[in-house]
Symmetry: C2
Subunit: 128 residues, 2 copies
Amino acid sequence: MDILSKLRIKESELKQAIVVRTDLEMGKGKTAAQCAHASISAYLKTERTDPESAEKWIEEGMKKVVLKVTGEKELFQYFQQAKDAGLPVEIIRDAGLTQIKSGSATCFAIGPADEKEIDNIVGKLKLL
Amino acid sequence: MDILSKLRIKESELKQAIVVRTDLEMGKGKTAAQCAHASISAYLKTERTDPESAEKWIEEGMKKVVLKVTGEKELFQYFQQAKDAGLPVEIIRDAGLTQIKSGSATCFAIGPADEKEIDNIVGKLKLL
């Protein structure tokens, strides 16, 4: 890694954003389990593609926000935008044993990545 | 690792349990963020102390359950039992910027670890 990249990582603050569908009306426990799943999945992807950021995020205290979208279409729209921006992103499909239809996409997580880059994509979404 | 230990890991199913306080009346997004925090923290601890189980859990699809307790006393009681049993466990204290008092213990996660060992501790708790 060159010095400019190192400086960029040092100066930026890292966070992870988790984006959840509200239309599935998942309960609190189900929502928490799906979000934890997304959080670890995106973290593991970041660890493979950008290990410095993954490590720094842990050291900084793993800042994360949980945001909401109203449905599947909106979920995939933001997911695709994050992907197109080159951010590490993982979408979660539920096994569907309880509450919701099998294979439904429930949520996705971006990062950890630079806070500003994440906000460029999902900064206007409201907290769940 | 000896052959018996390898067999044990191969035969057992692994899961992670996340235990959350209901008395704090955290919203859905707050609960999800705290649980994701606990989930990653306990995973990282397992990765250090029992990397074979951490890796196998990922491969198996990261089975997890989110359970509930009614207050701080009960939370610490189960946390201590899991710790005394030698399971990898991490408790989360909230920074308290929103919703609840700073430093409050909100939840903890155990594992990934052998499902039966986890159920021995928290198997009677109800799903959140």
